[in-house]
Symmetry: C2
Subunit: 229 residues, 2 copies
DNA sequence: CCAAAAGTGTTCTCCATACACCCATGC
DNA sequence: GCATGGGTGTATGGAGAACACTTTTGG
């Protein structure tokens, strides 16, 4: 049943920049478009906002439909409202960014009905629409936010070593950090539980594993903190 | 000429939280609604986004139409997409916040055709829709941003004393600051031009006036800075 | 025993903080 | 001369930054 309006309205979509992390790179999950415009080009997962769902719900629904991801860390980024973003019609998009544990989701994305794949953030293919600009904004937000909110932890497995944690920060911030100062700082925050476990199957001394102290972690996530690493 | 769509679409509006500053308070500019729903209630200036304008342009247009304000500092805040925000139909709104020199605009708002007025931020009337939540978000953003970006300067007249500047930070952050430390810090940033002028018509020693050093100011606004006052 | 990464302390510098008095001006 | 705000310096403590060697383990 078609709807009629007095004036033309912009259409409203959501788009998600999904970040993942492996040993070497910060990666972004992209979907290959099968329809015009930009058929064959890679693009951010996303789609139209329905009238009976919030925009947050729309972002989660599209993420689940197009990539199979659920229960991820998801936060609104910025709303892009340029007049010529889409060649078909006027479309305003609310961009979100998500952080996921890449290893948990590597296979799933690749075997999805639609063509989905992870790309290193500094080696992306040419993207559809203005999606490169959205990715740039999301990266800037992530780099800024990681300094005063412990959100980056969403990118790691539940148990991790301090070296892994440091590596994550180095990859996101794109610079090297001093090992001793990093450990001193992160341990002083008291958001890590030291476990009685170590890495397995490594060809050198095994590193101790840590887990987030959920209580202090949530507390600190609310208050913000000064993580000037 | 009415337009027809296959599926119902959310409508899209913009709303603006306009901050101003006087000697005592941080204030917000509100418009009294003359139509239902919420007729008679105070609300944020705003309105529908047209298909042929960007959302930034829509925000500036609505601000000009409803309050007469032009050329103000304006920045996107957040997009509010709750399903029941508006009792008539589904409306998603992109919220902006603006900073203006209150003294320049005091009269204009009051004499506008529609009923507009400034209210102290901690003494607002009951607002229409979810606008109180939008104001809360805007205040939180302003308080956070003022610490690492010199945006607050948009609230002051072109020439101002260090005491005025300190007063502005105290009002925004809602706490007292040490005079000597404040001056030391702000002068060390080298974004102020010391003028050969002083306040006029005060019943005590007249304070020296300063102006922003546009070059360094723009530079620092881009880079961000650490204003941990 | 060798390769590889884990783990560990100290020094220095800088910046935020705390704090109190004299000065200039108008009335 | 007094009331009002303008303007100034110093001492202390804490945190970030720089920096190198020993330990553990597997192969």
């Amino acid at each position: 049943m078609p709807f009629t309006y007095e004036y033309a309205r912009p259409a409203l979509t959501v788009d998600c920049v999904v970040f993942g992390l492996d040993d070497e790179d910060l990666k972004v999950l992209l979907i290959q478009r099968d329809l015009e415009p930009f058929a064959g080009r890679w693009a951010l997962p996303g789609g139209f906002v329905h009238v009976d769902e919030t925009i947050d719900q729309a972002a989660r629904r599209e993420l689940a439909e197009e990539t199979g991801l659920t229960k991820v860390f998801l936060e609104q980024l910025y709303t892009f409202g340029g007049v010529d973003r889409d060649p078909r019609e006027r479309i305003v998009t609310v961009a979100y960014y998500a952080l996921v544990r890449l290893l948990d989701h590597k296979v799933q994305a690749a075997t999805d009905a639609r063509n989905a794949a992870w790309f290193a953030i500094d080696d992306l293919p040419k993207l559809a629409f203005d999606h490169q600009g959205i990715v740039d904004a999301a990266l800037a937000r992530l780099q800024g936010k990681v300094r005063y909110q412990p959100i980056g932890f969403e990118l790691l497995p539940p148990k991790f070593s301090l070296t892994q944690l440091q590596r994550m920060y180095e990859i996101i911030l794109d610079r090297e950090l001093d090992k001793r100062n990093f450990r001193k700082k992160v341990l002083s925050l008291e958001i890590l539980d030291e476990l009685d476990e170590v890495e397995q199957d490594v060809a050198h001394r095994a590193a101790r594993l840590y887990r987030f102290d959920e209580r202090n972690y949530r507390q600190l996530a609310r208050e913000g903190f000064n993580f000037e690493i």
